[in-house]
Symmetry: C2
Subunit: 239 residues, 2 copies
């Protein structure tokens, strides 16, 4: 049986009960159309989920759930902000299992997103985590300059996607490494400048290709995340 | 140097000149802002491209271009029409190299798209082929019933994506086959019925998974096409 899902903050759980915000009540009763006595799943966004039963003013925790749909390695996407379509990137990459999205300002991306945008992206990540049946809500980090992002990323394996040129395909690289935590940087419309790619290489990022065709700034992260998620799921033989 | 691209019909080429429609003139002069004497690329949508120079009332073909960005195997996507977002599926899958998209009506997809919708999807496929620098414009076929689509698909390798269950991952299957032409079927919201999956298996479709998380009807075809395109590009060592 399919059960609805709701992400809550860990502090909302007290003595085996869940205390909801007014917005969450509205969502449960009006949007999901649940009734007192109905069962649904709550997730704390940090990896834990519970089967719960809706009461008049709270929900009773019945049992913890140990399904595991998270990728066994952390994946950080470092994304130069495209002019449009970042909502869709956040949504699809969350479904595909991304751990963290770090928006960056690059030479060809001038816009510094408003705090409203960040709130919006975090809400989309939460909704997409619920709908795709994840246990963890990915973190949308505050935007930083590209150089700061490149210099502070501590993933074991680091890639930068370059649209033209003769770099090995991302899938080739993924198949030739022992997969650890991965960070991958993708540019916006117009791609990276040569200087940006060189800086990334200096910080240990390997340049990779996503294929012979030119992908839009919306498609490229979804494609990269598809290849990374599939490759990571295959290493554990859990796919 | 980056050159603009325009898809034309093969019959528009006569004696090394290209005769444009009024809409194409408008596009070249007003949208792309080209001027007489400017060079750009025309593609006949069937695999041939030429460097051309804009004249007052036509364009002169200067030389044929033999860049090759097409996948070396044909890929057919059989897609149950989602309620929303099919524009984005057509656009992204075109960028990723799809050969043919066959929209199907399934048990959980009732809507029969209008001819306006088909015209729109074909225009999107043409624009996306131009922008992603493909030589071929993928064919958007007229919608048919799922059973007809399953029974008439003649690709050597056939997959059907199933959202839950214990099927091997698409990438596992792609890595274990000698890759020939591929057809892949993906459901809409709610997925396929059990009967539909069984019918597909009867027609030689292998059930596959796209991972442990639940993908939306928009994300699933883009993810599948990302995995197929990368796997096909790798077989020829041209990636």
């Amino acid at each position: 049986m399919y059960l609805q899902r709701l992400a809550i903050a860990p502090a909302q759980i007290q003595n085996n009960s869940v205390i909801f915000t007014p917005e969450q009540y509205h969502y449960l009763y009006r949007v999901l159309r649940l009734q007192t006595g109905d069962r649904f799943i709550i997730m704390d966004g940090l990896g834990k989920s519970w089967l719960t039963q809706l009461q008049e003013n709270s929900a009773q925790i019945l049992e913890s759930i140990d399904t595991q749909t998270e990728l066994p390695r952390a994946v950080t996407l470092i994304l130069a902000l495209p002019k449009n379509g970042f909502d869709e990137v956040v949504r699809a990459c969350t479904e595909l299992g991304v751990s963290r999205i770090l928006p960056v300002m690059s030479d060809r991306t001038l816009l510094n997103p408003s705090s409203q945008k960040l709130i919006r992206w975090r809400r989309i990540a939460q909704e997409a985590a619920e709908q795709s049946e994840r246990q963890v809500v990915p973190t949308i980090l505050d935007p930083v300059d590209l150089t700061k992002a490149l210099s502070t990323t501590d993933a074991k394996i680091k890639y930068i996607c370059v649209a033209r040129g003769n770099n090995p395909h991302l899938l080739t690289r993924l198949q030739s490494e022992r997969l650890e935590d991965i960070a991958l940087a993708i540019g916006s419309e117009g791609g990276w400048t040569i200087q940006e790619v060189e800086t990334a290489i200096d910080y240990g990022f390997q340049p990779v290709s996503l294929g012979n065709r030119i992908l839009r700034a919306i498609t490229a992260p979804i494609t990269a995340m598809s290849l990374i998620a599939a490759s990571i799921e295959l290493i554990n033989g859990n796919a």
